[in-house]
Point group: C2
DNA sequence: GTACGTGCAAAAAATTTGCAACCAA
DNA sequence: TTGGTTGCAAATTTTTTGCACGTAC
């Protein structure tokens, strides 16, 4: 697993530290969401996350708002799997750059840890763009579905 | 330009042939949409396409329905730029595999014609997935916006 | 105490669907 | 003729926003 070098508790406290460093309050909603994001390896859709936290009285609108904030401070990464639903996964110190393979049928994803795309970013740089990032996803049909 | 090896007319008639080969009718809405998709290099959002064809009495729902059909026969490619809006670009014989750089601010895109990612697909293949495709987009800020 | 955040409800944006009329083959 | 398509309207789905209240610091 990508994030096994740190325990759940480590990642959570690091995440909370990032929140506080950004002058963001440690509210129950945010803590619950972070716990959900860290406990299982995402990416999760907003709806999936809401399912996990709504019994703690966390509203769907709050989920949207928290995820937006989390993304702005780099706590989560937004992923788009081409189906019109935004997904988020936790991002922390020991979670390195990676991509996903998404099953075209069940929509489950698996990590792809290799990435040779940095070189291509040079090309983009030479076209005059700055602050370049890239987004790479693989689509296929997993064994269970085929 | 990517598709300059064929003229507008060539690409349009090829596209219409694909439609007919798939037993899909050559309706005015579909022709107008294809013309819009071919005339300028996309990708276009559904809304942008609708703006281009609505004076021809093509309804927004029809745009959605046509694009879904076009995608299912490989006439267009769906692109997600991570902003929750689906975009489509024409795909035809002489339009080769490519990616985009998307400006984080104006959302305009430019083609990236190099792709070395095929090798990575081998890795995905070895994980038991079939019918693998990949999706790669670059994000950055273009000169005009920075 | 004072912002910042939240719940709730309503609005907005994006997409899908039902159905009668239309039209391409 | 006739079944695939469309326009229109309504319904869903996804996301955002306004506002008064709650709460972290």
């Amino acid at each position: 697993m990508t994030q096994s070098s740190q325990t759940f508790t480590d990642v959570l406290s690091d995440s909370l530290a990032i929140l506080q460093a950004a002058s963001l309050r440690k509210t129950q909603s945010r803590v619950e969401l972070l716990k959900a994001l860290i406990a299982q390896h995402g990416p999760f859709s907003v709806e999936e996350l809401h399912q996990q936290v709504k019994f703690k009285k966390v509203d769907l609108a709050t989920v949207y708002r928290c995820l937006t904030v989390f993304e702005s401070v780099g706590l989560v990464k937004r992923c788009d799997f081409g189906d019109g639903v935004a997904r988020y996964e936790i991002h922390h110190g020991s979670s390195h750059h990676h991509h996903h393979v998404i099953c075209k049928i069940c929509r489950k994803s698996e990590n792809i840890d290799d990435c040779e795309v940095q070189r291509l970013e040079q090309l983009v740089l030479s076209k005059g763009y700055s602050q370049i990032t890239h987004y790479l996803e693989f689509f296929g049909i997993c064994q269970k579905c085929s």
